[in-house]
């Protein structure tokens, strides 16, 4: 239980050395490390906060953009829908018009066919009538149909009533001399002479005549100048026949 003063001094020195050693190797480095870490963490937190703020900003921006895009998309879609509708309407209209045109064309062609059939009938009927009349006349009275047609025509010219006669004469006088006479058959020289004579008598003037053969001519004979034409027709026959042909055609349609 005694104090050894040398030991006391030695221990004080030892203790001071230990203080220095631990300060040097323990407290200082550890505290520095802690401080550095705290600083680092603070810095990282700050950075994180900054990044978070940035991210928030970006997010807001993107959201705004998205909303804007959505709106724009809807607007564009609507516009496209409208355009498509309009285009559809237009195409429908086009098709409708085309179909109308086609229908009318079809109807026209139908009409044309009808007309053609009628015409063919007319011609055939005419031929038949001519043949029959020709045969009958030659068999019974020894008169050719051609001759008879010319005679009737001349008779018709002579018996033209007032206004028509004046008009006819005017036309022939103003014809510069050339008068075209068309017929379905070849006129005999006698017939030609008779015609020319009759016309000269009416017009009281010498005329040049030109004869043409026209198998499609419905009438038997036709006088034609530049401005006038007169024909002898077998209209009464043909009208009756036309009616008959229409009835026939209706029957055909009904069958089809």
């Amino acid at each position: 239980m005694e104090i050894n003063w040398f030991t006391v001094i030695a221990q004080i020195v030892n203790f001071l050395i230990l203080v220095w050693l631990l300060k040097r190797f323990l407290y200082k480095p550890v505290l520095e490390a802690i401080d550095a870490r705290e600083k680092k963490i603070a810095l990282q937190l700050k950075e994180a906060a900054t990044k978070k703020a940035e991210a928030k900003k970006d997010q807001d921006l993107f959201r705004q953009k998205n909303e804007y895009f959505d709106k724009e998309r809807v607007a564009i879609m609507n516009a496209v829908h409208e355009q498509v509708d309009a285009e559809k309407q237009r195409l429908f209209e086009e098709v409708r018009q085309e179909s109308t045109v086609l229908r009318s064309k079809f109807e026209e062609s139908l009409k044309q066919q009808e007309q053609d059939i009628t015409n063919r009938f007319k011609i055939k009927t005419k031929d038949a009538v001519f043949q029959i009349a020709k045969k009958t006349l030659s068999d019974l009275a020894d008169v050719s149909l051609e001759q008879q047609v010319v005679t009737v025509f001349i008779h018709k010219i002579r018996n033209l009533d007032g206004a028509a006669k004046t008009k006819f004469i005017e036309a022939l006088k103003n014809s510069d001399g050339l008068i075209t006479i068309s017929s379905v058959f070849d006129l005999t020289d006698n017939s030609k002479q008779q015609l020319e004579k009759a016309l000269e008598k009416i017009t009281e003037k010498q005329n040049d005549f030109q004869y043409e053969l026209e198998p499609e001519l419905v009438s038997g004979i036709k006088i034609e100048t530049a401005t006038y034409q007169l024909s002898w027709t077998i209209d009464s026959y043909l009208e009756a026949l036309k009616k008959e042909s229409i009835i026939t055609k209706d029957k055909e349609n009904a069958i089809n």
């Binding site: 030991t7 030892n14 203790f15 050693l21 407290y27 550890v30 490390a33 802690i34 870490r37």
Partner: protein, 228 residues
């Protein structure tokens, strides 16, 4: 029977004597410094650290917080002195579990040396903090009549520090020795375990008291008293 490790002398030359206390202290110093160096030579300031670094950091932070709690606002300034007091006493007491080890704190010379260190450190820190005038004025608190009492208290507490630590550690060792001679098994083990506890508590008390004395001597403490 040997009471103090001072009594085992290895080498002597006049006034100078190399006894067990000094040798054990050297060994402890070496162990502490080596351990600290081994761990702190590659410290990291990353988020993830090694286990030993974590242990040391925990220890240092704990000491620092204790100093702060007592009232010293700048613990880093005092941690060298107070922390070393605590670590030295704690380690030297803890190692009593090692067979044939005799704690240097079980020698009155060592505890006296530590108490004298505190006795000197208190005015040194006080003057360093508040100047000579400020420190001397603290002896006149609350008035000049208290001056002799303040001086007596200063000396007596130093003595108390030294004797308290010595008595506790020496008695722990002594009881273990006595008990071993009476009840050789089991019971001395419990007393040893108890000795570890008292050793730790003594280390804590010594360090805390030193802190309180220093705090009383520095401006910081005065401010707290003034405001409180």
């Amino acid at each position: 029977m040997r009471i103090s490790p001072d009594q085992l002398v290895f080498w002597e030359y006049g006034f100078i004597s190399l006894n067990l206390t000094i040798v054990t202290t050297w060994v402890l110093m070496f162990l502490l410094a080596l351990g600290a160096w081994l761990v702190t030579r590659n410290l990291k300031s990353e988020i993830k650290t090694s286990r030993w670094q974590n242990v040391l950091e925990m220890l240092v932070i704990m000491i620092r917080d204790q100093i702060k709690e007592v009232g010293l606002k700048k613990p880093d300034k005092y941690i060298g002195f107070i922390g070393t007091l605590f670590l030295f006493i704690a380690v030297s007491n803890l190692l009593t579990i090692v067979p044939w080890y005799e704690a240097p704190t079980g020698s009155l010379s060592t505890t006296a040396a530590l108490a004298i260190s505190v006795f000197i450190a208190v005015p040194v820190f006080g003057i360093a903090d508040g100047g000579l005038k400020g420190y001397l004025r603290s002896y006149l608190q609350p008035n000049f009549i208290m001056l002799p009492f303040n001086i007596i208290s200063e000396i007596s507490r130093t003595l108390a520090l030294a004797v308290r630590l010595f008595g506790n550690i020496m008695s722990g060792g002594l009881i273990a020795t006595v008990l071993i001679s009476i009840v050789p098994f089991f019971f001395p083990m419990i007393m040893s375990a108890l000795g570890l506890l008292t050793g730790m508590i003594q280390a804590y008390i010594f360090a805390i008291l030193a802190t309180v004395y220093i705090a009383a001597a520095t401006q910081d403490e005065e401010e707290i008293e003034g405001s409180g």
